[in-house]
């Protein structure tokens, strides 16, 4: 076979939108013979239940990354939302304990809290001109601390059944959590690829100066992105809280690097202007698949950690290679 053709095929594969998906499938096929349990219904359900909340957070992060920013506060938003929601609707000590609207009010309160924190991040980045990294780092520390302080580090139990249903139940055959994550992903995809706001988000991430001169309301677009990221983290918080049946201030604290890692593996660039919701779906599936299968292989936590680090590096290298191929 002609090596030239062969190489072009590789190049085409790497620059394809779906290459992370192919990579996931390849991984699955390679690992499956060693751990047949990987494909069991139970395990797939397990993968999904880990993946869906992570996916929702990662989609919000994707929007922020496309504007050229970063949001480190998502994990704190998850904790804070969880605590706020639980303290509204817990039948033990909640504000609306026993009220039939408690679940709805709780969810609304959670989302509002997330959007509010995101909005504050946006203000810090646009109006106060703070670097996104450190602005959201500070808000991660503050709101994480706030969640712990509000509850004095005690989890809140006794959430209403209707709320728990949201995370654990199913509508006909479709699990609610899958529906929530799916709707979020589709919504984000349409927003980014089809709407005016989406076009503006890419423009701002590609070049804020040009965008401003061309009449794009740069500050508002960026603020929206952070608010959306906060909102997504709050939705994820609903899923996590309902799954655990507990409002906990430390919920989701360990997923921050997974979120950023998954988004970057998907192909969204930290430099801004590049990325999309679909890539993030693939990136999240990939990282969850790796996580799960390494666990199933009986590999210890340290190997999993190291492999994750290696994957992020690999993704960064592939991203550089992709830009080179596309440029050349």
């Amino acid at each position: 076979m002609n090596p030239q053709v062969e190489m072009n095929r590789w190049k085409r594969l790497v620059v394809s939108d779906y290459w992370v998906l192919y990579l996931s499938i390849a991984c699955f096929l390679v690992l499956f013979p060693f751990t047949p349990r990987l494909a069991s219904i139970e395990n797939i359900r397990n993968i999904f239940s880990n993946m869906l909340p992570l996916l929702v957070v990662a989609i919000g992060e994707t929007i922020v990354l496309i504007t050229g920013g970063i949001d480190l506060s998502v994990t704190s938003v998850i904790g804070l939302s969880s605590v706020i929601g639980a303290s509204i609707m817990s039948s033990d000590q909640g504000l609306l304990a026993g009220n039939p609207a408690a679940a709805a009010a709780g969810v609304a309160g959670m989302i509002l809290a997330g959007v509010f924190v995101g909005w504050l991040n946006g203000i810090a980045v646009t109006r106060l001109r703070m670097p996104p990294f450190i602005a959201t780092l500070t808000s991660m520390m503050f709101f994480g601390g706030l969640a712990v302080w509000l509850t004095q580090s005690r989890p809140i139990y006794d959430l209403p059944a209707r709320f728990i249903e949201l995370g654990q139940g199913a509508w006909l055959w479709l699990p609610n959590s899958l529906a929530v994550a799916g709707v979020t992903a589709v919504f984000a995809h349409v927003l980014l690829s089809r709407s005016l706001l989406g076009r503006w988000i890419y423009a701002v991430g590609t070049n804020p100066r040009t965008s401003l001169i061309s009449g794009v309301p740069v500050n508002r677009v960026v603020t929206f992105a952070y608010a959306a990221s906060g909102g997504c983290a709050a939705v994820a918080s609903v899923l996590y809280t309902a799954r655990l049946e507990t409002g906990s201030p430390v919920l989701g604290q360990r997923i921050l690097l997974d979120v950023i890692g998954a988004t970057v593996i998907g192909g969204t660039s930290l430099f801004g202007g590049k990325g999309n919701a679909l890539w993030t779906v693939f990136g999240v599936s990939f990282i969850c698949l790796i996580d799960n299968s390494l666990n199933m292989l009986g590999l210890s936590y340290f190997v999993v950690t190291m492999v994750k680090g290696g994957i992020i590096l690999f993704a960064a290298l592939v991203d550089a290679a992709r830009s080179r191929i596309l440029a050349g």
Binding site: L196, S214, G215
Partner: protein, 506 residues
């Protein structure tokens, strides 16, 4: 081999992405001479000196420097071999002091316990000496961020003199200097020449070139079109060599004449330190030129008009309506379009596709309410319509990145982007900078077309001939003020230049 020659270029060639930028360039520079390198933007001047300065390497040909075959792997390498390079943007570190800037790449050190410590005393002493030799009387522990542009320029020269440079390249050194600072620089250049140092001087100001230089090399489209001692040239001859054709046919004629209706009216516009008491009117169908030297405040005026920078006094109105101050969206809504001088950083999304760039300004009008979704089909139609009308040459509007287009096509993309928002006032800041002659011609035709269809065009340019060829009237700016308004019958290069030099305090 001629003993007097310091530097000889022999058949130097260079291409970027398959486009030939320099072809078979040969010339020589005598010891102790100042050589003026002139040519239009994009003629290859920077490429030529960048090869010498080790910034890029040549594809073919030889350079002899001080009688030996010369190549430079890096700027530092060139510097070590005795070539100092003063770039248009200064390469100083504002957070360090003057002495540290001079010695940043080679501090005098004393080893104590095997660790190289900066020998501060030696460094200060040598820095004082170098500052003295460029006539800069400031303490050498002054932070560079406290210095004026002119002082920084002198620090750069002191830096170039650190290792006894035989040749100093000055690439447009006067662009951000005041007249007084320029004079000081020229005096220093003469003095350095007296010490036997050769210089290559790149400048758009032909007056300066004729005053300072012993030899002139004229470049056009990567070719040396003429070279020789300054006595052989006149300014007019240099200009026609640079342009390569007689100016009469260069600018396409416009069929229409300006209307009476005023589109843009500015009165008493001022901002301290930037512009002072600017008043102007732009009529329907008019092309109004704005001339001035670099740093006269033309681009700053444009930015203020478009709402990007603040102003403290005065009024701007478009079609009789006072324009609210604020972000550019207000200006766009009132019917203004702004092509900035900085195409790469402010005009285009370089990493985005041609179509995305063209669509950027008009997006809101192609958005359905209340869904907020973009009507991609009709947007695409409009975009490709605009692209073909301006004859943008692109392999695929949707896939080709703007970065990969030629300069002229890039500029047409910026114009197309604004055209789609249907503006009545165009502010064009250096629309033909850095693009080739053919594309320039097309841009001129587009400008005429705009005016013909009833728009008003404010054309800002450094090339006086361009303004004389294109405009109905020319405003001349100097030091942030309008010093004259020249009508077409009175067009005269020298006259305009005199106004441009105008009220600069010397």
């Amino acid at each position: 081999m001629n003993e007097d020659m310091l530097l000889e270029y022999e058949d130097i060639e260079k291409s970027f992405f398959g486009v030939r930028v320099l072809s078979k360039v040969s010339f020589a520079l005598r010891k102790g001479h100042i050589l003026g390198l002139v040519g239009e933007n994009g003629a290859g001047k920077s490429t030529l000196v960048n090869i010498l300065g080790g910034v890029i390497s040549s594809d073919a040909g030889h350079i002899r420097f001080q009688g030996r075959e010369y190549t430079a792997a890096s700027p530092a390498d060139a510097f070590r071999q005795g070539i100092g390079f003063i770039h248009q943007e200064l390469n100083l570190f504002t957070n360090l002091d003057v002495a540290e800037n001079i010695f940043i790449a080679g501090f005098p050190v004393r080893r104590i316990a095997c660790i190289p410590w900066i020998d501060a005393r030696a460094m200060r002493a040598r820095a004082e000496e170098l500052l003295g030799s460029v006539g800069l009387a400031i303490p050498c522990d002054t932070l560079v961020e406290r210095l004026s542009q002119g002082e920084r320029q002198l620090v750069e020269i002191a830096k170039a003199l650190r290792l006894s440079a035989r040749l100093i390249i000055l690439d447009e050194p006067t662009t951000s200097l005041t007249a007084r600072e320029s004079e000081r620089l020229f005096a220093l250049m003469k003095e350095l020449q007296g010490r036997g140092i050769s210089m290559i001087f790149i400048s758009h100001n032909l007056g300066d070139v004729f005053r300072l230089c012993d030899d002139i090399v004229v470049l056009r489209d990567g070719l040396v079109v003429d070279a020789g001692p300054v006595e052989r040239f006149s300014e007019n001859r240099v200009i026609s060599l640079m342009v390569g054709r007689s100016l009469d046919h260069y600018y396409p004629p416009r069929a229409t004449v300006p209307d009476e209706e005023v589109l843009l009216e500015v009165s008493g516009l001022s901002h301290p330190g930037i512009v002072e008491d600017i008043s102007l009117t732009l009529r329907r169908g008019e092309v109004l030129g704005v001339s001035g030297l670099m740093g006269a405040g033309r681009s700053e005026l444009a930015r203020i008009l478009f709402g990007l920078d603040p102003y403290t006094r005065g009024e701007i109105s478009v079609k009789g309506l006072r324009m609210p101050s604020g972000p550019s969206r207000a200006a766009i809504r009132s019917g203004m379009a702004f092509l900035t001088e900085n195409r790469r950083e402010e005009g285009l999304l370089m990493e985005a596709s041609v179509a995305d760039n063209i669509a950027l300004v008009c997006l809101p009008s192609f958005t359905r309410t209340p869904s907020g979704l973009v009507d991609s089909a009709s947007l695409k139609r409009e975009v490709s319509g605009a692209a073909s009308k301006l004859r943008i040459r692109s392999s695929s509007l949707d896939r080709q990145k703007v970065r990969t287009l030629s300069g002229g096509n890039q500029q047409k993309v910026v114009l197309a982007k604004w055209l789609l928002s249907g503006p009545s006032v165009f502010i064009l800041d250096e629309p033909t900078r850095g693009i080739d002659v053919g594309a320039k011609h097309e841009i001129y035709k587009i400008i005429n077309d705009l005016a013909g269809r009833g728009a008003g065009v404010l054309l800002i340019s450094s090339e006086i001939e361009e303004l004389m060829g294109m405009c109905d009237r020319i405003l001349v700016m100097s030091a942030g003020e309008i010093t004259a308004c020249v009508e077409r019958p009175e067009y005269d290069r020298e006259r305009i230049l005199r106004f441009a030099l105008g009220r600069k305090p010397v």
